[in-house]
Symmetry: C2
Subunit: 483 residues, 2 copies
């Protein structure tokens, strides 16, 4: 029996125990997890900062977000309505056949394999949104540590294990595995794995997706693989605020050395204002000092991608990024005519780092074709005056076809953790556009409905009992009620 | 441009129009569809009966179910809460950054390709649950007619097209395509296809699943591929009602010539009562006359499967089915020791037709291992006295891991159409255990969430407006409210 096999056996044992626990126990465990992680913050912040090269201020913010989302899931579980309890009462007198009693609710899928991301050593890693939403659903998690921040990952894993122990949950509830790509592949191929969550590169996510679909029993893979998050700017809007628009773009593009999956790698600008806008963006970006990227591999890939793009005669470089050392990401900016952008898919491939392309369009009636040719995105943003949108219903409908989140103001970086957030989008942004990896709906990825027909009252789960002892929202005989 | 390409272009045009319609328009169209189909019932019933060889009484029942489910989806759409409208209000004063306004709802996926089933020429075919739930979500449907009932399919398609015309919807809302396997593959490979729904064989469903995962942009496939729907019978229960249990089993097994995806192909019986039970089942089944199957291909496959099983020395045949002609399905029954059943996966492969295997177990502590070795099922059934279940929590938990619907009384055949129904289960029963193909939750397969950030009030969709003009259930700042 391999170590991975032992991990899965332990997780399966834990799963069968987790199924017997009531919601308060799971919610309490999540609260305890937040507490344990908070208790090590003075060691955690310098560690995560050192390993990721992200400044302590940024890591401090990320820790707050991580704790906030753990507590948000604790509340969600404690409230309890997420299980979609649905009851259709029986009718023994119905003709031609009696109507049975059917009660349905969501149940945890089983062991989930989670892969963390290098760009969020806390919020999308060991105790990140994927781990927490899976645990909240009642699934054991086997977490594959990201090799870019091993110490940080171990520290968080210990905190989670402390919470598991203090809460009296089985040891197999959370397990931390270190290893390379082969280990990850062995994990997702294991017969007891029931779902996979991943945040990272297209190549990495697609490889997991292919492995899991080729299994004897295919399992869902929720891979968030990033995108170029285009911003479409209309003329009326731009003419009124060219400076602030340029500053906002430059700031979002270079935030965190451009290492966000929501980094706006493309911006579509009308020709009429392009020169002034470009000049203003360049001015802003010139002020941005190069900064260390997450690791040398990412930095190397960044410059390789720029080098490849520099072969294209269609791009005009407004800011040429120089590779000053093996870790520093320097901003880069290019522009391209809309007709040329359409001719080469390379111009919409994600370049992970502080690089953007300004796409210059002639007239607004070009936008429809540009959006039609856009691949699936996590976000699309439109900057327009309200009255400019009134006759643009078709464009807005097309834009929402291409993304999971559509912004009208602001920038796509900075993903709010809440109930309404959708962080997911059509392929290749993710492998399942019907799911989100941020926000409370993320829990739904790790559960499936089970219907009980004519189940004896004495074994009804609390969520499905008459009288609704949990006080949750339920669909009873077709009506949503909480009594 | 191929004909299929033209179909998808038309569907896409229709999709962009459907997106602009309010819910009443879609609900009205579904009502009209039911009306148009009802109007041709006197022609439809004999046609479906003639093509499927199912008796008119059965087809009459199926028509009622078909109309009922269309109207149920009309109500669901009219009520409107299925879109999961979720609003997180902004907070401009939040530190360090203002909190944006985020509004999320489910939006239709786009064009759905639906494949009908031969065993339900109405309820799982042209205007069946897949077509209707996709249309209800606002998705255009391109329907691939089942070659086993072409006339019936054309008649229903005409009725749907009448409803489309009368309701003023675009022509591309529903399209009917006839062809072979190649046509089906071309359809699901089309770039504009956004999801696939299928009911049929494992081979057929798995082939579609593989094609869609290998696309440049993979799309979800909701394939319901059937199962053997085991019944587990405990000793206390059986000792009290051996005759009625045997009669119920025999009746469910032979219903509709065994041509249901919920046909109970396996029944687990304690050794203590096996002989009496088997004798009673045989007595009941002897009364069942052979009846025509759906088509010669299915009949041929049925006898081939029995022939293959008859090579096994582990099976004892209680009723040997003879191939009397190319269409008649005659019942067959075999038994096997539990330990032998465990040794050969062939004993849990679906045999489509009136064939069952009685698995004889020695003691109840064997059941855990038997269930552990069970593949994913649409349904599992346990027949037990209520007090026999009290110490069987682990067994019940394991059983629910294996299926989408767990029954405590009655038989798995006869799938109730309602809100709480779950018709789906772990692979290989379906390709997505998180979905159902029967009941109102089926609509969720064909929609995905979109979040709007800081969208101007003047373009808020009705579902997301302040004041809740649609009066639907919404999650607002974390609380479920309908005001």
């Amino acid at each position: 029996m391999s170590q991975i096999d032992i991990n899965f056996q332990d997780a399966q044992k834990a799963f069968l125990t987790l199924k017997t626990l009531d919601k308060n126990k799971i919610a309490g465990f999540l609260e305890e997890m937040a507490k344990q992680i908070e208790a090590i913050r003075d060691d955690l912040i310098p560690s995560a900062s050192r390993e990721s090269h992200l400044p302590e201020g940024r890591i401090t913010g990320e820790l707050g977000r991580t704790l906030g989302q753990i507590r948000l899931f604790a509340q969600l579980v404690d409230e309890g309505s997420w299980v979609e309890a649905t009851i259709d009462h029986p009718d023994p007198d119905r003709k031609p056949a009696p109507k049975p009693d059917i009660r349905r609710m969501l149940k945890a899928l089983g062991t989930v394999v989670v892969f963390g991301a290098s760009n969020f050593p806390l919020a999308f890693s060991t105790a990140g949104g994927d781990t927490v939403s899976a645990l909240a659903a009642g699934c054991p998690v086997i977490y594959k540590a990201h090799p870019a921040h091993p110490e940080t990952s171990r520290m968080v894993a210990e905190a989670i294990k402390n919470a598991v122990r203090i809460s009296g949950l089985p040891k197999g509830t959370f397990q931390h595995v270190e290893g390379g790509i082969d280990t990850g592949q062995e994990m997702v191929a294991h017969p007891l794995a029931k779902a996979v969550a991943f945040t990272g590169s297209f190549r990495g996510g697609k490889a997991l997706f292919d492995t899991c679909n080729a299994r004897e029993n295919p399992i869902p893979v929720f891979a968030e693989m990033g995108s170029v998050n285009p911003i479409f700017v209309l003329e009326g809007y731009l003419s009124k605020q060219i400076e602030s628009a340029a500053a906002a773009y430059a700031s979002s593009l270079s935030l965190g050395v451009g290492q966000f999956c929501t980094n706006p790698g493309l911006i579509f600008i009308p020709k009429s204002h392009e020169e002034a806008f470009s000049a203003a963006v360049v001015d802003s970006l010139k002020e941005v000092a190069g900064a260390p990227m997450l690791h040398e591999g990412i930095c190397h890939t960044y410059y390789q991608a720029l080098e490849a793009l520099s072969q294209s005669k269609k791009l005009t470089w407004l800011l040429d990024s120089e590779e000053t050392d093996v870790l520093t990401g320097n901003v880069a900016l290019a522009k391209v005519k809309a007709s040329d952008w359409l001719s080469d898919e390379a111009f919409q491939e994600e370049v992970f780092g502080p690089f953007g392309i300004i796409v210059v369009y002639e007239q607004e009636d070009q936008l429809q074709a540009l959006v039609e040719n856009l691949k699936g995105q996590l976000t699309c943003t439109i900057w327009a005056e309200e009255e400019e949108l009134k006759n643009r219903t078709a464009l807005l409908h097309l834009l929402e076809e291409k993304c999971g989140r559509l912004l009208f103001k602001g920038v796509p970086t900075g993903v709010e953790v809440g109930h309404a957030m959708q962080h997911g989008g059509p392929f290749p942004a993710t492998t399942d556009s019907r799911s989100t990896s941020v926000g409370t709906y993320a829990i739904k990825r790790f559960a499936r409905p089970v219907a009980y027909q004519d189940m004896p009252e004495s074994i009804w789960p609390d969520a499905l009992k008459e009288g609704n002892p949990m006080g949750i929202l339920r669909k009873v005989d077709g009506a949503w009620v909480s009594y």
